[in-house]
């Protein structure tokens, strides 16, 4: 079996110049998308247009933090998109959890669950930063540098295992058999982890002041 490769040449050029993004706003970053799309920054001049369904889209934007509930839908949408497909993570929340690093309901590092091609940093990124990220993406696609979906396919088991650690993948995966198998495999570890995580915390009556600070 030959290794799959990202498109190059005419195909790569057309793919880069015509990116249809999935109209799926997952977090705060969504508020900077309208300015990027509309008259002041006008993303359409690069051929980037919002599309309504994953079947038609090439580009999945994760605009901000992902709660576990949204992650399920995102994975489902991602798997429905036709290849080649690209994922861009917006904002620091997708890099390391950002502001919500200690939240019980958001995932911290997105590239453990989905193959990220490009991150745009900031909380949240300005339209200029978004445009800059997109030009980077377009240039990279034309040269065939981005291969996120190939990574995802080749390491499907790894990604599915990670996803199974935080969510029930059986309902949300297109490949039901694989999902079922991996889900059964990780049950034990998942249960252990959950037990460790939900140890009843003794609420301290003492002052909650960090130690070593001057009075």
């Amino acid at each position: 079996m030959t290794k799959a490769k990202p498109p190059k040449g005419l195909k790569g050029w057309a793919q880069g110049r015509s990116l249809w993004m999935l109209h799926f706003c997952t977090g705060c970053g969504a508020i900077e998308m309208p300015p990027t799309m509309t008259s002041r920054y006008d993303m359409e001049r690069f051929g980037i247009t919002p599309m309504a369904t994953p079947r038609q889209a090439d580009l999945l934007l994760i605009t901000g933090y992902l709660t576990v509930k949204t992650l399920k839908r995102v994975i489902r949408s991602y798997e429905q998109m036709p290849e080649p497909k690209y994922v861009v993570g917006f904002g620091s929340c997708t890099v390391n959890g950002g502001m919500y690093w200690d939240s019980y309901n958001t995932i911290k590092r997105l590239d453990l669950y989905l193959p990220i091609d490009l991150y745009i940093a900031g909380c949240m990124p300005r339209p200029e930063a978004i445009i800059d990220g997109f030009t980077e993406l377009i240039e990279g696609i034309k040269k065939g540098k981005f291969d996120g979906w190939i990574r995802y396919k080749e390491n499907l088991e790894y990604y599915k295992r990670n996803q199974a650690m935080v969510m029930d993948i059986r309902k949300w995966s297109l490949d039901a058999e694989l999902a079922e198998r991996i889900w059964n495999e990780v049950q034990e570890e998942r249960r252990k982890r959950f037990e460790r995580a939900t140890v009843k915390h003794v609420y301290e009556l003492a002052e909650r002041i960090p130690e070593g600070l001057p009075k």
């Binding site: 799926f24 508020i31 933090y65």
Partner: protein, 372 residues
């Protein structure tokens, strides 16, 4: 009922979270017969970050950057609310100038939120030129915000004790220019949106609610004023210096989508007037009363409920302190908690599938403040 009508199939389907006709990340499960909706169930929770829990983990001052993230399209009321609540608990004096600046920031935030609202509802009806124009013009206001606070959307500008910094030099003139520009554009918007026969046809008499029903079901803000009830937190429960400012509270009697859009349109004009008044009458003086070492600052035990009028309705914080360096509990009462769950579930019944998205946009539902 049986017999002939059975040909019409009953559908059950989801609008959202991955759907263009949804404000933010939200979903509605619909049961429809043919084109008529029989039952709607709102399903929030896609944006739940556990804000109230996270705020208990952080010091009083460290929560300031967090709170503005609660409502993404209109973040400033959150900052002001949190600051007001903490000040009331701690008995912290706010300088006169800071209060005027806060009013200005709140009203600027209202203008930009209403502009994106009008863009949103016309976009939901297919009039794509309106969102393009309005988001473009809203950006000029965001530029002023950036100049004042350093950020476009999340300003983190209001802190307990005042505001983070004073107005930059020449800011007032530039803000006036921007306001003049937006005021000039209002005529264009009126002609594009409200004079449009198709827009009128789609919105007048659609998504109506009864005024008494609206009050009892927790409808607040512009949505309530569109039912002809003159209720505004700025007047009823005055905060900051709103009792010294002259402004009108517009009301409409249609109770439908058109009135709800019209109210917002008129409020933009009112907010422009308020900002102008603030610029004229703002006193000189200090702008921040620092509360001391933020890591050590204790707020006396007690509880307080504060509310402001945000662009979406009544925003309220219930803050409890046990005398520690961190809040004991903060409860956020967002206006969308009622608009987005109970009100929309009731309004959608009997409507057409085509009207789901416009009705949702017309109520100005902000999912992050439901989920928190």
């Amino acid at each position: 009922m049986n017999g002939k009508n059975e040909i019409i199939r009953e559908f059950e389907y989801f609008i959202g979270p991955q759907h263009p006709g949804i404000t933010g990340n939200f979903s509605i499960k619909l049961k429809a017969k043919g084109d008529v909706i029989l039952e709607a169930e709102a399903r929030p929770g896609y944006l739940h970050r556990g804000f109230e829990k996270l705020m208990e983990q952080r010091h009083w001052i460290k929560n300031v950057p967090m709170v503005c993230r609660i409502c993404v399209p209109d973040p400033d009321p959150n900052e002001v609310l949190y600051a007001m609540g903490v000040e009331e608990l701690a008995g912290l004096e706010v300088p006169e100038r800071a209060q005027w600046i806060r009013v200005m920031v709140l009203e600027m935030s209202r203008i930009q939120a209403h502009l994106s609202y009008l863009g949103g509802i016309s976009g939901a009806l297919g009039l794509y030129t309106a969102p393009q124009w309005m988001t473009g013009d809203r950006d000029y206001l965001l530029d002023r915000f950036e100049e004042l606070t350093g950020a476009r959307v999340y300003h983190i500008y209001t802190t307990p004790g005042g505001v983070r910094r004073d107005l930059p030099e020449g800011f007032e003139d530039r803000l006036r220019e921007t306001l003049d520009y937006i005021e000039k554009r209002l005529t264009d918007y009126y002609r594009l949106i409200f004079d449009n026969p198709v827009f009128q046809k789609r919105t007048i008499g659609v998504g109506t609610m009864d005024p008494d029903w609206a009050i009892e079901n927790g409808v607040t803000g512009p949505n309530l004023r569109a039912c002809g009830i003159k209720a505004d937190v700025r007047i009823d429960d005055p905060y900051l210096v709103y009792d010294q400012i002259e402004f009108e509270v517009p009301t409409e009697t249609g109770c439908d989508m058109f009135s709800r859009a019209m109210i917002r349109f008129q409020e933009i004009q009112q907010s422009i007037n308020i900002v102008r008044q603030v610029l004229d009458r703002m006193p000189k003086g200090p702008f921040l009363n620092k509360p001391g070492n933020p890591l050590m600052w204790r707020v006396p035990a007690g509880d307080v409920y504060v509310r402001v009028e945000s662009s979406k309705g009544e925003f309220g914080y219930y803050i409890v302190s046990d005398g520690g360096v961190k809040p004991y509990r903060v409860h956020v009462r967002g206006p969308s908690m009622t608009h987005g769950i109970h009100v929309i579930e009731t309004l959608l019944v009997g409507q057409r599938v085509a009207d789901v998205s416009p009705i949702m946009f017309s109520l100005d539902i902000c999912p992050p403040d439901i989920d928190r």
